[in-house]
């Protein structure tokens, strides 16, 4: 290849890597939401309607909010109400809109050493796991799921710092990797139903406890405050939020199913959500 051809080819490669960009917003959300497949279903509908691409950066809830605090996202969509309200209190977000909810489920090995299968009381189940010192995998990553888990231990009156032992495995991972770990260890863990339904490496695991009101998992969406971060695309971001809570968006959410089962239940505008 002549030297000139080489140079031209090289420049073309370099240029193509830095692709030109149409209009888009950056959405910081959680790994569990992405891995449930919801975005793959819902976002194209919005893009078809408005021509605006939604680019999802999926992290744990804590990381997603931190990303927004640095101004690297336009909209955040997470499921940890307390953390979201703190975010608003800091002046980092404009307004919180409830969007949808699903629930957490307690996953565990079918042979169930802690004898909790079929129960409807999550707090009782956790107490039994603790007494049996059965292996339990925690996400440990400041995610919405992790924060919910910590709240439930508190409700059970168990002080994790004291109670922690080799049975409690703090992995610091996203929902999927934590499920992988639980699957290979035959451990219990708290998961959101969406990720569980989409998860393929179940091994010997199954849902053992569900339906407790305390397992309710509420999702909220916020526009990152353009006064704090002038580069935020506030018009496009707000357009996305408006669509998400509109009948159109809510229907798109409700329509998403895996194996015929609905994963998320829209509840925008619900008081106190």
């Amino acid at each position: 290849m002549s030297r000139r051809t080489f140079v031209v080819l090289a420049a073309a490669i370099a240029a193509s890597a830095a692709t030109a960009q149409g209009s888009y917003i950056t959405l910081a959300s959680t790994t569990s939401t992405e891995q449930s497949g919801l975005f793959g279903h819902v976002l194209p509908i919005f893009t078809r309607k408005t021509g605006v691409e939604v680019r999802v950066v999926a992290l744990g809830t804590g990381q997603a909010l931190d990303l927004a605090r640095r101004g690297d996202a336009d909209v955040v969509f997470v499921h940890a109400k307390a953390a979201e309200e703190k975010f608003l209190a800091e002046g980092q977000g404009v307004k919180r809109y409830p969007v949808m909810y699903n629930d957490f489920v307690l996953i565990g090995p079918k042979r169930d050493p802690a004898r909790i299968a079929g129960g409807k009381d999550i707090v009782e189940a956790l107490k039994k796991i603790r007494s049996a010192q059965a292996p339990f995998v925690s996400r440990g990553d400041k995610s919405g799921t992790h924060m919910a888990e910590l709240d439930l231990w508190k409700d059970a009156g168990i002080e994790l710092d004291k109670a922690k032992g080799p049975w409690y495995r703090d992995t610091g991972q996203g929902m999927g990797p934590a499920l992988n770990t639980a699957s290979s260890m035959n451990a219990y863990l708290l998961a959101d139903r969406g990720t569980w339904l989409a998860f393929r490496n179940r091994g010997d695991l199954a849902i053992l406890v569900e339906g407790d009101k305390r397992l309710h998992n509420q999702y909220g969406v916020m526009l990152v405050n353009p006064d704090r971060h002038p580069t935020v695309k506030k018009d496009l971001g707000q357009a996305f939020i408006d669509w998400l809570v509109s009948p159109d968006g809510q229907k798109a959410i409700a329509d998403y199913r895996i194996g015929g089962e609905q994963l998320f239940f829209p509840n925008a505008g619900q008081e106190g959500a």
């Binding site: 490669i13 890597a17 830095a18 960009q21 950066v57 999926a58 690297d72 991972q173 999927g176 499920l179």
Partner: protein
């Protein structure tokens, strides 16, 4: 063992179907890593050669540092580049976080020390042989750098391939600075990581096999070109 067979089947199925998403992901991976290699060579090869033929204070320290940087963890590079490119960071105004360009930059930073360190070694060895004759012919240090880099072009191919291999196989840097955004910054390695965390291990492994095949193919092609040319010029 049987998950590898399952993975191989998945891989063949994906390739046969020429799944457009997969094609996009493979092409993006190649574009990012090749662009990074280009930058890495443009900076690393002359840098390595210049260190080889010049004498200056601190030269040995610089060589040690360069060699050490070959072991830069990719996730550290990703983190540093993220902090630089973040809106809250010094280069935030560029607005290139979560784009392929950010991934190219991170990978280029990752592999340039490797290319420089290895080319420094190759040119040093050659300089032992060539220096008197080249200086006798009146060659300047700068001229020697160019002459030697061209003369060593066959050895350098291997060095360039090493750089490409490192770039194409890393996941830590591109995950952080790219964000693994579907359709925008999702490359082979981050796809594999994603499918693994979704528990779809056969698919992840299948993608891994495809990545391996692509990298091996490129290596084979480069090797053939190198061998035929080398036979002509000794």
């Amino acid at each position: 063992m049987h998950s590898i067979a399952e993975a191989a089947t998945q891989a063949l199925g994906l390739v046969a179907a020429a799944d457009p998403k997969l094609v996009d992901i493979v092409l993006l991976s190649l574009r990012v890593s090749l662009a990074a290699v280009l930058i890495g060579c443009t900076i690393g090869l002359p840098l390595g050669a210049a260190i080889a033929v010049n004498r200056f204070r601190g030269r040995r320290t610089l060589i040690v540092i360069l060699n050490g940087l070959m072991g830069l963890p990719s996730v550290v590079v990703g983190l540093v580049v993220y902090l630089l490119l973040s809106r809250a960071g010094p280069l935030g105004a560029w607005g290139i976080l979560f784009t392929p360009l950010a991934m190219v930059i991170a990978q280029a930073i990752l592999i340039t020390p490797t290319i420089a360190a290895l080319s420094r070694q190759a040119v040093s060895d050659a300089w032992e042989e060539y220096s008197e004759q080249l200086r006798s012919l009146g060659e300047t240090r700068l001229g020697a750098v160019t002459t030697l880099l061209w003369d060593l072009r066959f050895s350098l191919v291997t060095i360039v391939l090493a750089g490409f291999g490192r770039a194409a196989s890393e996941v830590g840097a591109v995950m952080i600075v790219g964000g693994n955004i579907d359709g925008v910054t999702r490359v082979m390695t981050t796809s594999i990581a994603l499918e693994t965390s979704k528990g779809d291990l056969p698919l992840a492994l299948g993608l891994g096999l495809i990545l391996l095949a692509v990298v091996l193919g490129l290596n084979a092609g480069a090797y053939i070109v190198k061998e035929t040319a080398q036979r002509r010029y000794g």
